[in-house]
């Protein structure tokens, strides 16, 4: 019963807003796919009323969630109508979700698929090949070990005494 009342309440709040034109779309200049932990994902968030008209004077917020961590990043106006800039930092590697409150109708956040930040397979959760960058340190270590082993032998060969 409480759920029904809640649903009716939500409908009463949201439906008139939507029918009265109270909705906006959000487009992004990029997604966080490939962003490393601690690095900034600078994203332009464009808020368009009815998907058409740039909305000025709103305050979009990007919210990221990973495990128990929730962080909000307010987007600032860029000077271009309807375009706001957010500087988002995923603090650690792992699977993160993100969503955007367009600042116009806050009850309807814009949701996106989870992304893997950092580590193996740091790409969009929806595809792409694995990120093999993590192999580079391992390969460098192997090369260094090989040089340590082979280096003295090479030097030894170069110093063989000449025949008398």
């Amino acid at each position: 019963m409480r759920r029904v009342l809640l649903a009716v309440g939500l409908w009463l709040v949201l439906a008139p807003a939507a029918q009265a034109g109270g909705w906006a779309t959000v487009t992004l200049s990029s997604t966080p796919a490939g962003v490393q932990p601690g690095k900034t994902w600078g994203v332009d968030v464009t808020v368009l009323q009815h998907g058409r008209t740039p909305l000025t004077g709103v305050h979009p917020v990007v919210t990221i969630r990973g495990g128990d961590t929730i962080k909000d990043f307010a987007a600032s106006p860029t000077g271009k109508p309807g375009v706001y800039r957010a500087e988002v930092v995923f603090p650690s590697a792992g699977r993160w979700t993100y969503q955007i409150d367009d600042g116009f109708i806050s009850q309807m956040p814009h949701t996106y698929p989870a992304v893997q930040i950092g580590g193996p397979g740091a790409t969009s959760a929806d595809g792409g090949g694995p990120n093999l960058l993590w192999l580079i340190p391992g390969i460098a270590l192997l090369l260094a070990a090989a040089l340590l082993l082979i280096g003295p032998r090479l030097r030894g060969n170069g110093r063989q005494p000449q025949a008398a």
Partner: protein
């Protein structure tokens, strides 16, 4: 008019580099263009409620239909929905991103 240019122009016939890469780019285009602001689409974790659930409305549809629904959305209006979708996605979306987006939608709708 627009759809004639796109459907007849062969965009949907040009194969992306690889299907996996194409679908990954398609997911990015979906997010970047804000499709989820209005549409529910489970693979994208999108919960928009203004337009139809794309997993349902595009299920079983062919490539040209999906492409048409993007670049000329007024051509076919889903039952119980209004003609609200902006008609300028053909201009907004880079032509090279249309195939990946179509592939992503078709794959997701079939799943």
């Amino acid at each position: 008019m627009t759809i004639a240019a796109f459907a007849g122009g062969g965009h949907a016939e040009e194969a992306p580099a690889t299907p996996a890469k194409g679908a990954a780019r398609g997911a990015e285009v979906f997010a970047e263009q804000g499709c989820g602001s209005c549409h529910t689409f489970a693979p994208a974790n999108a919960r928009g409620g203004l337009g139809p659930d794309l997993g349902l409305s595009l299920d079983g549809k062919d490539k040209n239909y999906v492409l048409q629904s993007i670049v000329d959305p007024s051509a076919v209006i889903a039952p119980n929905y209004g003609d609200l979708m902006p008609s300028d996605f053909a201009q907004r979306i880079d032509p090279s991103d249309l195939d990946p987006l179509v592939a992503y939608l078709m794959k997701g709708a079939a799943g």
